[in-house]
C-alpha cells in the first residue's frame, strides 16, 4: 500500500499536492477516456464484426481487413488521398513560409495583413467552401472569368474526374495557410537577431542568410508544420463533401473520394459499420507510419539549437 502511495510522493505534503494535481487533470483525463479512449477500443472491436447497425452483429474475425486489402474502392480512396497530399503539402508549406517571411519584415500594416491571412482559419469551412464552389462554376464563376481570355471558361471543374482535385486542393491550401504562417512566424521570431548581424558583417547576402541561417534554424518549425500537415491532409473530408455535394458526392467515379469520405459513406450510406471501423484503423495505421517515418528522417535535416537532439 505504501509502495502505491509512494507513487504520489514520499511525504504526506507532496502526496496532497499530487492529489490536487490529479483532481485538476481528472476532467480532461476522463473526457479523453470517455470520448476518445473507449471509442478507440470499440473501433477495434467493431472492426471484427459484420454489422449493419440494426441486425445482430456477426463475428467474422479479420474478414473486414481481408476485404479492405482486396477492395478497389479502398485503394482508390487511398490514391486520391495521396494525390491530395502531394499537391497540398508542398504548395501549402512553401506559400505559408513565403507569407510568413513577408510578414516578418518591417511592413506597413503588418498586423492587418497577418489578420487577413489568418481569417480563413477561423472562417466556417462550410461557408467558405460553398463560396469557392461558386467561384469554380464554369462560364459564370470567378475562375471562369479569369481563364476566359485563354478560352478555358467552360471547364467543368467539379464534375471532371481529372480536374476535381484542383479546386479541392485550392480550398484546403487557402484555409490552412494562415495557421502554418503563424507557426512559421513564431519560428522566425525565435531566430536570434545577432546571427543575421554577424552574417551581414561577414558580407553574406539575403539568399545566403536565408539558406544558412533561416532555413536550418527554422527546421524544427518546418518539421512540426510538416507533421501537422500530413495528419490533417489524411483526414480531408469537409471540403470534398461540400464541393461535390451538389453534383455527385465524392466526384464522378469516386475521383475525389478521400479515405475519410470513403469511411463516412461506408458507415452512413452503406450501413457497413464493421468495415468502416476497419477503414478507420487503416487510416490510423497510415498516419502512424507516415509520422514515424518523418520522425526517423528528421535527424537528417532538423537542427535543434540547444543540442538536445
Amino acid at each position: 500500500m505504501t509502495a502505491f502511495l509512494d507513487l504520489f510522493g514520499k511525504t504526506p505534503l507532496t502526496r496532497r499536492r499530487a492529489y490536487w494535481g490529479l483532481a485538476l487533470v481528472a476532467p480532461n483525463v476522463l473526457g479523453l477516456l470517455f470520448f476518445f479512449g473507449i471509442p478507440v477500443v470499440l473501433a477495434f472491436r467493431t472492426s471484427l464484426l459484420d454489422w449493419n447497425g440494426i441486425r445482430p452483429p456477426v463475428e467474422i474475425g479479420l474478414g473486414n481487413f481481408e476485404h479492405l486489402l482486396n477492395d478497389p474502392a479502398f485503394w482508390n480512396a487511398f490514391g486520391v488521398t495521396l494525390k491530395l497530399l502531394a499537391v497540398v503539402i508542398p504548395i501549402g508549406m512553401v506559400l505559408s513560409l513565403v507569407v510568413a517571411l513577408m510578414l516578418n519584415r518591417k511592413l506597413h500594416g503588418r498586423s492587418f495583413f497577418r489578420v487577413v491571412y489568418f481569417l480563413p482559419v477561423v472562417t466556417s469551412t462550410v461557408a467558405a467552401t460553398m463560396a469557392w464552389t461558386w467561384m469554380f462554376q464554369p462560364r459564370y464563376g470567378l475562375i471562369a472569368n479569369v481563364l476566359a481570355p485563354i478560352g478555358l471558361q467552360d471547364l467543368n471543374w467539379l464534375t471532371r474526374p481529372d480536374l476535381v482535385l484542383f479546386p479541392i486542393a485550392a480550398v484546403v491550401i487557402w484555409q490552412r495557410l494562415g495557421f502554418d504562417m503563424i507557426l512559421f512566424l513564431a519560428g522566425l521570431q525565435a531566430i536570434p537577431r545577432q546571427l543575421y548581424d554577424a552574417a551581414r558583417m561577414d558580407g553574406a547576402d539575403g539568399i545566403r542568410m536565408f539558406r544558412h541561417i533561416t532555413l536550418p534554424l527554422l527546421s524544427p518549425t518546418t518539421f512540426l508544420v510538416l507533421i501537422l500537415q500530413v495528419i490533417s491532409a489524411i483526414q480531408i473530408f469537409d471540403q470534398v463533401y461540400i464541393m461535390t455535394a451538389r453534383t455527385t458526392r465524392g466526384g464522378m467515379n469516386d475521383s475525389a473520394t478521400t479515405l475519410s469520405l470513403f469511411l463516412y459513406e461506408t458507415a452512413f450510406t452503406n450501413s457497413d459499420l464493421g468495415y468502416s471501423a476497419a477503414i478507420a484503423l487503416a487510416m490510423f495505421a497510415i498516419t502512424l507510419l507516415l509520422t514515424v517515418a518523418q520522425i526517423t528522417l528528421q535527424r537528417r535535416w532538423v537542427y535543434y539549437e540547444s543540442g538536445s537532439e
Binding site: 447497425g53 440494426i54 462554376q137 464554369p138 462560364r139 459564370y140 467543368n156 453534383t247 458526392r249 450510406t269
Partner: protein, 434 residues
C-alpha cells in the same frame, strides 16, 4: 318515384365513373374514417418537412382532443439533410420514433431489417380499403410474402412543366397545352433559347423524380429499374431513345449543363428557372408554394409532353409515407394516430393548407381549391396522376441513377450508350446483391 329512378341511376353511375378517375369521391361517406384509440399513451413522431410541422401539429392536437384524450405526442422536425443519418443511428440503437416519415426509395432498408411495423393487420381491422390510394402511391410500401402495406401514404406529388409565360410571349411561341408532344417541346426549347442573353429553352433532366425518368416513362417502360426490381431498364432501346432525345437538346445548346446550373438536383434547375435563366423546367407539386411566392415573372404549368409514338404523358408519382417503428412500445396507438392522419378528417388539414396534396382522394378537390383564384393550372398536377409511374429505385442506386448518369450525359458529354452501360453495370450488381 319510379319516374326518377332511371335518371337517378344514370346520375349515380356517372358519379361513380368520374369518382373512379380519382378527382372526387362521394362526399357523404368518408373514404377513411378515424377511430377512437383503445388506450392513450405517449408517442414520439418525426418528420423532415418544416412546412408540414405546423399542419401536422394541428392535426395531432385534433386527434388527441377528439379521438384519444390523454395521449401525449412529441413531434420532432429533423431537416432532410440530417434526417436519414439520424434515423439510421436511431435504428442502430433501437430507439426509432414511434411514428415517422419515410420516402419510397428508402423504405426498403427499414422493411428489410424489420425496423418498421406491418400495418396490414390494422388496415384490415379498421376496414380501410387500401385500393382507394393509387397503386403508384402504395405499391412501393408493400413488403413481405403477402405484399402487406407497411406505410400509409401522406401525400402525392406529380411532375409537370413549369414555364415562363413572359419568355414565351417575347419569343412569340404559343403556350403549350396538355396535348403537346416531344416534337412541340423540342421546337419550343429551340425557339426560347437566347444565347446572347444567356437564356436556355429548357432544363428537364435533373434528378430522378423530376427529371429524365418522366420521359422514359412516357415511352411505356418503368424507368431505371423494372417493376419487379430485378433488372436495370436504362439500357433498353426505349430508355436510350428518351435519353438521346434529351441529350440532343443539350447538345444543341437548348439545355444548360449540370455545371452551369451549379448542381444536379431538381432544386438547382428550378432555381435556375426562378432566376429567369431558363424558360421551361420540370418540377413537382412541392415547388408550387415557392413558385407562387418567388417567381418575379408570369408563369404557368402544363402536363409533360407526350411521347409521339405512345401518345402518353406520364409522371413519376411519389408519396411520402407514415410508418410505425417495429419495436414501438405502443404499436396500437401509433397505428391509430396514422389512421387519423390519413383519414378524410386528418388529411383535410393538409388539403386546406395548400402546400402538400394529400394522398386521400377525398381531399384532392379541397387541395386544388386551397390555391384560391390563382391563374396557375393546378389541375394539371391532378391530371398527371391519371397515367403515372411509381418509384422503383432505392437508396443504394440513388447516386448512380440520379447524379452520375446525369452528369455523364449532360455535363461530360459521354454517349448515352456508354453512360447507361456504366449505370446498368452498377445497378444490376446492386440488384443482384439484394
Amino acid at each position: 318515384m319510379t319516374k326518377f329512378a332511371r335518371p337517378l341511376a344514370l346520375v349515380l353511375v356517372a358519379a361513380l365513373f368520374f369518382g373512379v378517375t380519382g378527382v372526387t369521391l362521394a362526399q357523404d361517406a368518408p373514404a377513411i374514417a378515424p377511430q377512437a384509440c383503445a388506450e392513450p399513451g405517449e408517442l414520439t413522431m418525426r418528420v423532415w418537412d418544416e412546412n408540414w410541422a405546423a399542419v401536422i401539429q394541428e392535426s395531432i392536437d385534433a386527434w388527441v382532443a377528439d379521438y384519444c384524450p390523454g395521449a401525449v405526442v412529441t413531434l420532432e422536425v429533423v431537416p432532410w439533410d440530417q434526417y436519414w443519418t439520424l434515423l439510421r443511428t436511431n435504428a442502430t440503437s433501437g430507439d426509432l420514433p414511434d411514428v415517422f416519415n419515410v420516402s419510397q426509395d428508402r423504405f426498403f432498408f427499414y422493411a428489410e431489417n424489420g425496423a418498421v411495423l406491418d400495418l396490414q393487420p390494422y388496415w384490415d381491422e379498421f376496414g380501410v380499403d387500401t385500393t382507394l390510394w393509387g397503386s403508384g402511391m402504395i405499391d412501393p410500401y408493400r413488403w413481405g410474402e403477402a405484399d402487406d402495406l407497411y406505410a400509409a401514404p401522406v401525400n402525392w406529388d406529380t411532375i409537370v412543366v413549369f414555364y415562363n409565360k413572359d419568355m414565351f410571349d417575347a419569343a412569340g411561341v404559343e403556350y403549350p397545352t396538355s396535348a403537346w408532344t416531344w416534337d412541340d417541346f423540342a421546337a419550343a426549347s429551340a425557339a426560347l433559347t437566347d444565347p446572347a442573353n444567356d437564356v436556355y429553352g429548357s432544363a428537364v433532366y435533373s434528378e430522378y423524380q423530376a427529371g429524365y425518368t418522366n420521359f422514359i416513362a412516357s415511352t411505356g417502360i418503368p424507368p431505371v429499374v423494372g417493376a419487379g426490381r430485378t433488372e436495370c431498364t436504362l439500357d433498353e432501346p426505349r430508355s436510350i431513345e428518351a435519353l438521346e432525345f434529351l441529350q440532343g437538346l443539350y447538345a444543341e445548346g437548348y439545355m444548360p449543363s449540370v455545371s452551369v446550373m451549379g448542381g444536379a438536383s431538381a432544386t438547382d434547375s428550378f432555381n435556375f428557372w426562378l432566376a429567369g435563366r431558363v424558360a421551361m423546367v420540370t418540377n413537382g407539386s412541392w415547388s408550387l408554394p415557392t413558385a407562387i411566392e418567388q417567381a418575379t415573372f408570369n408563369w404557368d404549368v402544363v402536363q409533360l409532353p407526350r411521347n409521339p409514338e405512345t401518345e402518353r404523358t406520364r409522371s413519376i408519382v411519389h408519396s411520402v409515407g407514415y410508418v410505425a417503428a417495429g419495436n414501438s412500445d405502443v404499436p396500437d396507438l401509433a397505428a391509430n394516430l396514422i389512421l387519423y392522419l390519413v383519414s378524410d378528417e386528418g388529411s383535410a388539414f393538409f388539403a386546406n393548407a395548400g402546400g402538400v396534396a394529400p394522398a386521400n382522394p377525398a381531399q384532392q378537390q379541397a387541395w386544388v381549391e386551397s390555391f384560391g383564384d390563382t391563374t396557375v393550372n393546378i389541375q394539371a398536377f391532378v391530371d398527371a396522376l391519371e397515367d403515372s409511374q411509381g418509384v422503383t429505385v432505392f437508396d443504394e442506386i440513388w447516386d448512380a441513377a440520379n447524379t452520375e448518369l446525369v452528369i455523364n450525359i449532360f455535363d461530360l458529354n459521354v454517349s448515352v450508350a456508354d453512360a447507361v452501360a456504366q449505370a446498368c453495370g452498377f445497378i444490376d450488381a446492386q440488384l443482384a446483391a439484394q
